[in-house]
Symmetry: C2
Subunit: 722 residues, 2 copies
């Protein structure tokens, strides 16, 4: 049953791009109307299905028979395009439902983007389409293009060339700009979708669709926000195994960082969440629109490299050095050339030519020298990719050298090549020729490097072990203990766990914690202390007391019973003075842990992407140095290892500064156990283990803070009981 619905869902989705029949409501004979452009573009796009303009007044629109209402259309409508004022859209949905229409592209603006009134209308629209089982792209969008159907239902002036880039944009204007620019730059697209307000269909479904689309080789995204973060990551991870996804995420300014009480939360701003999520999803993120296309066209034209070892061939030193710098900035290395390559170069190039990498054929170097160098680089097993730079020199013949590059590139199709013909008029014809032959070619060497670096970034994503790895299971964890503690916390109307409760939760998931018990009377305290053994730590505990140190509520290194009972009395007195209304006040009696390197492991829940985990420098320096690495739960073993290795404090754990090497395995495992804990209990909002002591004997979670969401807790309980 579900299977069938899913299939049908896919058909509904495909009808947006390959409909046999399209109705355009609001199609117009008035060239200043959006409804005019929509039909006009559809007609000239070469679409060979049936088109039914719907117009209340005119009998014919742009030469085609028009209908007054949907009802009058004699055939089934695969795709309904809507371009009428927003107040009329709801009623139109009723009519569409009567006609059994499922796929609706709503161009009309006047919804949530105009304020509360429009938002209300949009909510009603959502309810209606859900009721009718319709799927909607838009509202407030520019439309969509499929250059293979072919079909163009947008109100832009520009045409779009057929190609293999699929583009999903949350900004309509960006599309108009890019389309106009792409015509000039000769860049082609497979599909182009403006998602507008994303009432229903959003990037997640479109990425999946383009992932399966045979005409789409690269997927490009312009996003301002991702609503369904987890699904976005899942879909992208699936799709990037087949084709690269490159994205611009705008709106990254700090203004958006949210206030947070936990250490982890304070460091995990919205931009961090997106960065971490894109990383996990395997999406290549770029900052500049131009870079998006530099990288995308290179993907569509060149093979993936086997390594990041770049060989630069140039006729000029300066541009070669600049390219070398940018290679390093962008994660590439200069390949050490094999002795065969170097010797053959020496035999064939001018004696003053540089035969190491960059290979400098000198200003006198022409087609012959470029041919030899490029062929050797292609054959050299140390070389993963080639950048050819040509600056105008006395003897330079750009077209001839372009022909050499094209020829060698065709003969050795397995290594990617990019080109910088650094100049102006002199170089134009060469550049054109290269691009016509699918060689990414640019004026400036920096772009040539960027193009190849993009290929390598994707190759590196595909090679990630964690991409194919499941998080580790820890069979001995005691879920029921955690469940009971959370139940009791929620029952007591709390969301923040007491210290002893948090310690117990961590312990239930196999995280080493100091022995901790809560005493409510002096006698209990003495009893517990004798059980644990001196020296001890004492911490005041009460749901009402959040900042213990403010009332001197933490004592470290209690040596004997006398100190214990004195401290107990003092702490209770202070607590009662400062918190006269606190109902329960006790003192946690805790084993004094041996001090190790101070780390933090924490989790904070991001509204879009779920639990974001951190690991790094703990203690008082946590927020000073913000030496932490982020990851999204679930964290696999490889991810946990890489996160830890990415911190600066890792060098201390490894025994830098003369210390002993810490038990790094236990640190990594602790992060994995924390990840498992929040996976099992998504009602957890924040968790901070700070400090986590690490030394050669293992780790100890000395202080654990946990906050849960009451609503989420109850939701989880319900889900489990059903």
């Amino acid at each position: 049953m579900i299977k069938l619905l899913l299939l049908s869902d896919r058909e509904i989705l495909e009808n947006f791009f390959m409909p046999r029949t399209v109705a355009v409501v609001g199609a117009s004979n008035n060239p200043s109307k959006v409804g005019y452009s929509l039909l006009h573009n559809l007609l000239r796009s070469g679409y060979d299905g049936k088109i039914f303009p719907v117009n209340l007044k005119d009998e014919e629109v742009q030469g085609i028979k028009a209908y007054r209402t949907l009802k009058e259309i004699p055939e089934h409508v695969d795709l309904l395009v809507v371009s009428i004022p927003s107040p009329y859209v709801l009623d139109l949905m009723d009519e569409a439902h009567e006609r059994g229409i499922k796929s609706v592209l709503i161009i009309s603006a006047g919804f949530k983007e105009i304020g509360p009134e429009g938002a209300m209308l949009e909510q009603k629209l959502l309810a209606k389409i859900r009721e009718y089982g319709m799927r909607v792209i838009g509202p407030n969008c520019l439309g969509l293009i499929d250059n293979f159907t072919p079909l163009n239902i947008t109100f832009t002036k520009s045409n779009s060339k057929q190609g293999n880039l699929g583009f999903v944009s949350q900004s309509g204007a960006l599309i108009t700009g890019i389309l106009d620019w792409s015509v000039k730059e000769d860049i082609g697209f497979s599909k182009f979708v403006s998602v507008g307000n994303k009432l229903d269909i959003d990037e997640v479904e479109l990425i999946e669709l383009m992932g399966e689309d045979q005409h789409t080789k690269v997927i490009l995204l312009y996003l301002e926000a991702v609503n369904k973060g987890r699904e976005f990551i899942e879909v992208c991870r699936r799709v990037v195994k087949k084709k690269p996804i490159i994205a611009i995420k705008s709106g990254t300014s700090k203004a958006g960082a949210r206030a947070a009480s936990s250490h982890t939360g304070a460091m995990a701003g919205a931009n961090t969440a997106y960065t971490t999520a894109f990383e996990k999803a395997g999406v290549i993120r770029v900052d500049r629109i131009e870079d998006l296309f530099t990288i995308a066209t290179t993907f569509s034209w060149q093979p993936l490299p086997r390594s990041n070892q770049l060989c630069i061939i140039t006729n000029a030193g300066g541009p070669g050095i600049i390219a070398t710098d940018h290679a390093e900035f962008n994660g590439l290395s200069l390949a050490p050339l094999s002795s065969t390559t170097i010797n053959t170069l020496k035999q064939n190039l001018h004696p003053a030519a540089a035969t190491h990498n960059p290979i400098d054929v000198l200003g006198t170097g022409g087609a012959k020298e470029y041919r030899i160098s490029m062929e050797l680089a292609m054959k050299d097993p140390n070389v993963g990719m080639i950048l050819v730079i040509l600056a105008p020199q006395e003897m330079t013949k750009p077209v001839e050298i372009a022909e050499v590059i094209i020829d060698i590139s065709k003969r050795f199709p397995e290594k990617p090549v990019s080109v910088s013909f650094f100049g102006g008029k002199e170089m134009e014809k060469g550049l054109e020729l290269l691009k016509r032959n699918y060689i990414p070619a640019f004026t400036f060497p920096e772009k040539g490097v960027l193009a190849l670096a993009g290929l390598w970034r994707y190759q590196a994503i595909l090679s990630r072990p964690e991409f194919y790895e499941l998080p580790r299971e820890f069979p001995s964890v005691r879920k029921e203990i955690v469940q009971n503690i959370f139940d009791s916390v929620v029952e007591q109307g709390r969301v923040t766990l007491l210290g002893s409760e948090s310690i117990a939760v961590a312990q239930a998931y196999g995280i080493r914690v100091p022995q901790t018990e809560t005493a409510f009377t002096t006698n209990e305290a003495v009893e517990i202390a004798n059980r644990i053994g001196y020296p001890l730590v004492m911490k005041i505990t009460s749901p009402q007391i959040l900042h213990k140190t403010d009332i001197n509520g933490v004592r470290i290194g209690i040596q004997d019973e006398k100190e214990l009972t004195d401290a107990f009395a003092e702490m209770l007195r202070a607590a009662r003075t400062h918190f006269p209304h606190a109902k329960v006040i006790g003192v946690d009696i805790q084993q004094l842990a041996k001090k190790g390197t101070e780390l933090i492991i924490g989790v904070s829940k991001d509204p879009q992407f779920g639990h974001l985990a951190i690991i790094g420098t703990g203690g008082i320096y946590t927020n000073v140095f913000e030496d932490v690495q982020f990851g999204l739960v679930p964290i696999t073993h490889t991810e946990a290892t890489q996160m830890l290795e990415g911190t600066k404090v890792y060098s201390i754990l490894q025994g830098a500064r003369g210390g002993k090497k810490a038990d790094i395995g236990s640190v990594i495992e602790t992060l994995e156990r924390v990840s498992r804990l929040v996976q099992d209990f998504p009602q957890m909002v924040d968790l901070d283990i700070n400090p986590l002591f690490a030394d050669e004997t293992g780790v100890m979670a000395v202080d654990v803070k946990i906050t849960i969401s009451k609503e989420e807790h109850q939701k989880q309980k319900q889900e489990e009981s059903t």
Copy 2:
């Protein structure tokens, strides 16, 4: 006497760009020769002085009477251009000297760039020109251009348009590429110089010259290395007060980082030195060649902003958001618009238009809406600069809107404007019109932001107080104490100071240090201990023992005489066992300092730029977090303050994490005193104060390490005695 020589020096320099007579040795009739291109370019450049080709065989070169030797030329030669094989250049210099020629442009290659043989030739050439008092540009260079003389003595194919950018390049090929590209982009230059091997004249003198050149408004540099670092900084600081200097420094890869033994040295790689030097010099550094020109043309066309408060006017949301992100990346803020602006916008724009910043005139917004918005932004005192974005929409008329921008920009010439016409063919005419009217106009909004950000970076440099500030004087420093210690160290054949010596040096410059004395016998140790008072620190000391902790040679917290004498005996025993050949072994007895926040203050000598100072997190975390800020000596009070404020540990000094606020003034003063110390004693190679304890009562330099250069020390002594 000196004055006169300088004046004449200037004339010699000016003769490169405004000679009345030019001799071209190696001028040729063979179009495949460099000597052909040189003369050909000179002839077609419109140069109206006299030209004397020198050619052994031909009586006429390119239609002009040629001479066999310099001797035969009937007039004085202001500028000699050399394009003959390198082996003949030396003899030519003799001939030139006989003719009283002082300015020589050597195009010929075949010098140090080809290896040891060429380097030797170059050294001989240097000796010769010094002997003859000649000044040389080159060898191994492309030549030079002055578009106002006018004069083009290069062997490029491209012409160069007259404009107000002055360019100095260490790469000839970069010039050919840029010239070719600039013609296409319609970018004009005042002077263009290829400095080649920089045998004599280098960027320093050319920057000075261009600084005074009325036709040059912006100076652009492409540098691979700066040889005279200090002079470079001094000259740039003078020149940037008049006009901006923008630079690409290539060759920044990590391979160049040098090995270093001190903490400071380890962190101060070559790239850091350049970054710090450019910062101190007020030079704007960019990474991409294209950015160099984006910023440079903006300088030559637009006024400087009064603030970094950007107003964005757009007809499309997406590009506006992207511009907002890039504004933040580049140090700009979005101006909060005045209520007058907002209210007037509300009255005049579409009700759905965004009247905050970015101002969104909507897709329907045309010339009228842009005019109103731009005029209001110009009048709004909160706005410092304006970016206008136009995406192609149904109603968009790019040329009309370009005209509005030009008009408003002319009427309000005091606020800088840049433009993004985001599209392709649609936008071309608008873009051209804007550029013709000196409005920086680009396809992508990111570039529009970058252009304005460049203006602001320069404005910020001009507004720096430290740019006009002298380092503080500390009249009570005891130079003679330091002098005596250094003398005695060098006398003993050492370069590294003992702990007690370093402490004494610091103390002589008013830096607070713990009381420290060296004991060589148990009795002395007891005596000193009684003077200083317990608890104490003991440190083994000997010129041979560099890593004290390896032999347990540091004891902290010695409580009484018993502990003292025991430790003394043990330390001496261990030292004698491990270093049987150490001549002198003593123990430093030191007052135990109260622990504060651990800082590092250090200095390391860079080969190009002199003493590089750092301040930041000290102690065991120094090299882990590398939380340090760099500055070049001399460090002024403002610089020292900014350096400290730039560190992360500064927040701890300010009393973050509940601590007391440290005596920040004393920390800053310590850095200034260290700066003064190395200024007075440039023979110092490395100085590390680590840790420097800082608390509310002040600072304490607990451990000081100093290394000096014997050669420099003796040089200084000589200089002082003369």
